[in-house]
Symmetry: C2
Subunit: 336 residues, 2 copies
């Protein structure tokens, strides 16, 4: 198994990316093809004492910045680590690609270079979010801000295959975000999507899920358009941060509260770990013809290593192939 990584993408590149890759080699027994400027990579590894055993370097002289217009960046920066890495994946030089760089550029680049499986026009961005009962997969998280109903139906299939194959959930419960439980709720897009999902034999559709029930994790796959998914993902992050920020002054008020905190420290630590998205690696670009994983832009070594683990699992389970077969069966059925 060989995973291709974008050594230059992300806020903490290349040091944390390389460290995560080195940890993956040591702990997971994987080979790495690190794409980036060889000189920079070697200097960084030397400076931070990161062992490069098992890590091969594929030269790319450019890097795509977060602020660049995605389509333009992919078109013009032919020698960027992201474009060179995706090309290497398309050519079969590795089994999956992981990048903590620009989501937009990765999405555009994946569509153009790696291509999508049959039945999928543009990949969807899925994210595993820690929930009250259990983690759930939210898609689309912002790759496709405008969606048509058949796309939402496809998201249901792709999400279901992902949760089954990669997360090991048997018969995942697929739910559609909506402003009410009744199937007549929502915009025309959501009404139509509900009917398509309901009639879809490839998934276990459990109906609409109201936004208040999303965080509990009662559904395994939560389907919505990319605009709404982006709201859910970012609001979840922001609200968790705001609430935790409100708790801090309560515990640091005086000596007694500080001592009190020591008592619950272990519990709080376990809670933080459970709520820590880094534990689940990155966001898969579902529908790509080969596995592409978007690691969080602020990934540290641990998060990047987990994203590599996730990429390995996607490749092992032949995620793209399984999805393609599911969608083909569905298309054949609806043509009958």
């Amino acid at each position: 198994m060989k995973i291709i990584i974008d050594a230059m993408g992300g806020d903490n590149a290349p040091a944390e990316i390389l460290r995560g890759a080195a940890d993956a080699v040591a702990e997971l027994g994987v080979e790495i093809l690190a794409v980036g400027d060889q000189k920079v990579i070697l200097a960084c590894a030397a400076e931070h004492n990161i062992p490069l055993q098992g890590i091969q370097i594929l030269q790319a002289s450019q890097a795509i910045e977060m602020c660049e217009e995605p389509a333009k960046a992919v078109r013009t920066k032919k020698d960027s680590s992201l474009v060179v890495g995706l090309k290497a994946l398309a050519e079969g030089q590795g089994d999956a690609f992981v990048s903590a760089g620009s989501t937009g550029a990765l999405h555009v680049g994946t569509s153009l270079i790696v291509r999508t499986i049959k039945g999928v026009k543009r990949p969807a961005l899925g994210t595993i979010i820690p929930g009250g009962e259990k983690p759930y997969l939210l898609l689309d998280c912002g790759a496709n801000v405008e969606c048509r109903a058949p796309m939402l139906n496809t998201f249901g299939v792709m999400g279901s295959v992902y949760m089954n194959k990669v997360m090991g959930v048997e018969s995942p419960a697929v739910a559609l975000v909506n402003n009410g439980a009744e199937e007549t709720k929502g915009t025309p897009l959501y009404k139509e999507a509900h009917q398509l999902l309901k009639a879809n034999p490839a998934i276990r559709f459990v109906g609409n899920i109201e936004p208040r029930d999303v965080p509990s994790g009662q559904a395994d796959v939560v389907v919505c358009d990319g605009f709404t998914g982006n709201v859910i993902l970012k609001l979840t992050e922001g609200l968790a941060k705001t609430l935790m920020g409100q708790l801090k002054p309560i515990f640091t008020k005086n000596l007694a509260t500080k001592l009190a905190f020591l008592t619950v420290k272990d519990g709080m630590k376990a809670f933080k770990k459970k709520m820590d998205a880094d534990e689940y690696g990155g966001a898969p670009l579902l529908g790509a013809s080969r596995p592409v994983i978007k690691a969080h832009g602020s990934s540290n070594a641990k998060a990047f290593k987990n994203a590599i683990r996730q990429a390995m699992r996607c490749a092992e389970m032949d995620l793209s192939g399984t999805m393609e077969r599911s969608l083909a069966a569905l298309a054949a059925q609806s043509e009958e």
Copy 2:
């Protein structure tokens, strides 16, 4: 000042509604016109020892249930507390109307019976949500699941007037929910709305707000379509509940953690109060020609009393008139 209330609406009607009304009479010096079945109201007041001084009863023999189809319920239940109450408001029998009943029926009924101010087709549902820094007004929260860009622009004006007049915020910051700070972000609806809000001289538009920044309260007015607003409102509720539920077992684990909790109890209580939406009363139906307030369906006496206080303030500050003048000035300007 006389506030008309729907005595039969809400999960805890009529007891908690009447208790809230009686507290409002005692504490706020307001007159109440309670709409509902006189027999039921008198029996309930007697059973729960609720004083009816200052509370006049307006007979209505029916009640609209939460599960009823809103438009049909308003059309067919002519003698429901909601319809009779809204008619009383339209006829000037009181200065504002407060109901904890069906949001949909209240929205439809307000449009049909109380009517909207010039320039507003259907009222928007605004909700004050506790934020990290300060509370903010979110609109639309679900009354209009489908919106056009000029509606979002009107929401900006109505929200700004509300925060200024009712919440006392000078020059409120108005922001548009979007999946990025750049004005080119979002769906066509959001791109167009951004341009309209930016060119709107009646408000202080501060640009797009990413969902992760919404909970901090850095904007006073957060504008979005009703589908998205419903997601933000309900997800905020659900996530706060999930996170607090995760903290509980940490504090109830053993004797030491229980003792620790005693130390931080006051702080947690203050925090809970700050995060308690009940403190802010109900959700105004902005754009109605007279003030209509939707109290939370699960309102207890305190929440309902606060909703009455809010209704009083809307009437005192001539909210509807001020909004109408702002919108008229805006319309005149754009015609020039």
